[in-house]
Symmetry: C2
Subunit: 371 residues, 2 copies
C-alpha cells in the first residue's frame, strides 16, 4: 500500500501548477477555502511522507539479519520478479502463496520438537491420575525422561500419544491449556520461553513476503490446535493460515451448550507426503514459495517446485552448533538426508545457518535495531 502511494506522488503531472496559480487570485471566501484546503493537504502530506519513508526504509534492506550472499540475493530477486508487472515471472497478488514448515524452519526443534515437551509436561501433570503409565510405554519413558528409549518409538506411536492428550477435553479447554503452557514453559537447556526461540531471519522473510502481497501459511506436522493459539503473536500468521495435523473432533451439546470434543483418533497427519495433501485441502492452491528443513518437507518442496512459472524452494540447513544446533543426515528430529541430495540435484536454495544468518533469535538483536 505505501508503495502505491509513492507511485502516485512520483507521477504528479506538472501542469497542476497553472491550476494552483489561478486559485491564488480569488476573493477572501475563496482564500479561506484555499487555506482550509492547504491545511488539510499539509496534514495529508505528512502522512504520505511518513508512509513513503517507511516503505523506502523497508526497501533498503528487507532482510537485515541475513548476510549478503547467494541465498539472500536469490530471495530478493525472486520476490522482485514475481511482483514486478513488467517481468515475465509476474504473479498477481491473489496467487502469492508462501508455505513454511514450523519445527526447525521457523523455530528450533532441539533436543525434541517443542510440542513433544508440551505433551510431556501435560503427561507429568496428569500422571497422578494414571498410575498405569508407570509401566505403560511410551508413558514410562516420558515420565522417566528417557529420551534414548523414546527415540526407538516410531512417529505414529508418538503422534498417537500427542493426539490422545486431553481427549474428551473441549477445544476451548485445550486452547487455554496451550496458552498457559506457552506463557509459562521454558526450554530445558536455554531456559527461555519457547516463543523466544523463533528465527529472526525467518521473521524478516515472513514480513518481507507479506509486505509484497504474499499470504504466509504454516504447513507443519504439528497439531493445528497446538500452534494456533500463539502463531499470530510469534509470526504474524492468523490461525486460519495454519495447516497441520489434527485429531478427530466431535460436536455435541453438553447440558444444552454446543462444544467440540477432542477424540483420541488421528484425523490427518500433515507430514511427509501428507504436506502437499494438507496444502491442497486447506489452501487449495499450489504455493509459489516453500521453506522446509527436513525430509518431512521434501514432498511439499517437490509439489511446489513442480508448479508452472517461477517458484522458490529453500531448505534451512542447521549448520551452527555454536549458536543453535548442527544436524542433518542422521538426526532423530529434523532428519535431512534425501532433502539435501534433492536440493543439490534440483538447484534448490540451501540456507546455511552459520554462513547466512547474522543472528538466530530475536533476543540476540542489538537493542537499537530490534524490530
Amino acid at each position: 500500500m505505501p508503495r502505491n502511494m509513492a507511485v502516485v506522488i512520483l507521477r504528479v503531472p506538472h501542469d497542476c501548477f497553472k491550476l494552483s496559480d489561478q486559485e491564488y487570485g480569488g476573493n477572501m471566501k475563496k482564500k479561506k477555502w484555499l487555506l482550509h484546503r492547504v491545511s488539510l493537504l499539509v496534514s495529508i502530506v505528512v502522512l504520505m511522507v511518513s508512509l513513503v519513508s517507511s516503505a523506502t526504509a523497508g526497501e533498503h534492506d528487507p532482510l537485515p539479519s541475513w548476510n549478503d550472499g547467494i541465498v539472500k540475493q536469490a530471495v530478493v530477486d525472486f520476490v522482485q520478479r514475481v511482483t514486478d508487472k513488467n517481468n515475465r515471472d509476474f504473479v498477481p497478488s491473489d496467487r502469492r502463496i508462501a508455505v513454511f514448515d514450523n519445527d526447525g524452519t521457523l523455530w528450533s526443534e532441539k533436543p525434541l520438537y517443542f510440542e513433544i515437551f508440551f505433551v510431556f509436561d501435560q503427561i507429568r501433570a496428569l500422571a497422578p491420575a494414571h498410575p498405569e503409565w508407570k509401566t505403560q510405554q511410551p508413558y514410562k519413558d516420558i515420565l522417566e525422561n528417557n529420551l534414548k528409549g523414546l527415540a526407538t518409538f516410531d512417529e505414529y506411536s508418538l503422534m498417537k500419544v500427542v493426539m490422545g492428550i486431553h481427549q474428551g477435553k473441549t477445544t476451548d479447554e485445550f486452547d487455554m491449556i496451550v496458552r498457559n503452557w506457552i506463557d509459562t514453559a521454558r526450554h530445558p537447556h536455554l531456559k527461555r520461553p519457547y516463543t523466544d526461540l523463533v528465527y529472526q531471519p525467518m521473521l524478516e522473510v515472513l514480513r518481507y513476503l507479506r509486505d509484497r502481497g504474499f499470504k504466509t501459511f504454516i504447513a507443519s506436522g504439528g497439531n493445528t490446535d497446538f500452534m494456533r493459539p500463539w502463531v499470530t503473536k510469534a509470526y504474524g500468521i492468523p490461525p486460519e493460515q495454519v495447516v497441520g495435523s489434527s485429531s478427530q473432533i466431535k460436536y455435541e451439546l453438553r447440558h444444552g451448550i454446543p462444544v467440540l470434543i477432542r477424540l483420541p483418533n488421528i484425523h490427518f497427519i500433515d507430514d511427509g507426503e501428507g504436506k502437499p495433501v494438507g496444502i491442497h485441502k486447506f489452501i487449495g492452491r499450489r504455493p509459489l514459495v516453500a521453506f522446509g528443513n527436513s525430509d518431512g518437507d521434501l514432498p511439499m518442496l517437490q509439489w511446489t517446485a513442480a508448479g508452472e512459472g517461477a517458484r522458490l524452494m529453500l531448505i534451512v540447513h542447521h549448520t551452527d552448533a555454536e549458536r543453535e544446533w548442527a544436524y542433518d543426515r542422521d538426526s532423530f528430529v529434523g532428519r535431512l538426508n534425501k532433502g539435501l541430495d534433492e536440493a543439490d540435484k534440483r538447484g534448490w536454495l540451501i540456507i546455511d545457518m552459520k554462513r547466512d544468518w547474522k543472528v538466530i533469535y530475536p533476543f540476540q538483536l542489538p537493542k537499537q535495531t530490534s524490530r
Copy 2:
C-alpha cells in the same frame, strides 16, 4: 481503509493556516518548491476525495437489494456495533469471521444441489465406459434421470458417488473438469449458467462485511474441490476460505512428476455436526456471523450463537415460489424443520426471501444500478 482516510481529513487542525501563510513569503526557489508541493497535494486530494466519496456512497446503503425491515436493520446495526471502537460490542478486525453455507444460502439449490447436476453430467459422460451402471444403483436412476428414485437414497450413498467421480484423476485434472463444467453447463429449468443463480442480496452482504474488515468464509457440505475453482469470481471469496467436504487424496510421483490423486474414500463431510468441526479444523476460530438455510446448518448456527459477545445468526427462508422456490419443513433438498423452531426459540433472524429481497439474482438488477 477509505473510512480511515476520511477520519484523517476531518481531523485537520485549524492552526495549520499559520504555517501555510509563512510559506507564501519565500523567494522564487521556495515558491517553486511550494508549487511542486501544491501540485502534488492537489493530485493527492483528488485521490482522497474519490476514496472518501466512494466510502460515503457505500455507507449510504450497503444493502441496496434488501427491502427495509427488521432483517436489514439488524444486519447493519450488528456490523456498526462490532466495528465501532466505542461500542461495548466492538470486535477487532482480526477476529471478524463470517461463515456462509453455500447451497440455498449463496446460490439456489433446486431442483437438486447444483453439484449433483455436475456429478450427473460427469456420470453421463463416463457412462459408455461403464456398462455396469445400467443396472447398478444409484447410477441407473441417475442415467435415467429418475429424481424420484434418487430421493430414496441417503445422503451418504450420494456423497460416495460424488466422491467417487473421477477417482484416480489428479487434482489438477479435476480442477479443469470443474472449470469447464461451470463455464458450459446450464440449469435444467432456468437455462442459465449456474453461477448466474447466486443471490444478489447475499453478494451485497459479503461485500459489506469485507468492507468492514470481516473475512468471509464458505462452510458448505459441498466438495471443496468442486467449489474452489469458481467461488472467487462468483463471491469474491478466495479458495483458501472455502471449508467443505473432501475425499481422501494421495501424493505420488508419476514418472517423476509430483501429483495429488483423488481417492474414492470420504475424508470429511462438512455437513450438520460436521460444520462446526470443519470450521474449527480450517479456521480455528468461532465465527461472529453465520448464514445458513437448512437443518444441515443448525449446528454451525448453534456453535456461532454460543460464543461470547455479540453474534449474528441468520437463516435464509425460501418463501418465494414465484421468483425462486418455496420450501422448508418437508423439502428433500434444503430441509428446514428444526432450524425454524430453533430460530424462533433463540430469536435468530429469518430472512423472508419474498419480503426481504428486492431482487433474487444479479441478472434481474436494473442495468444502471448493476454493481
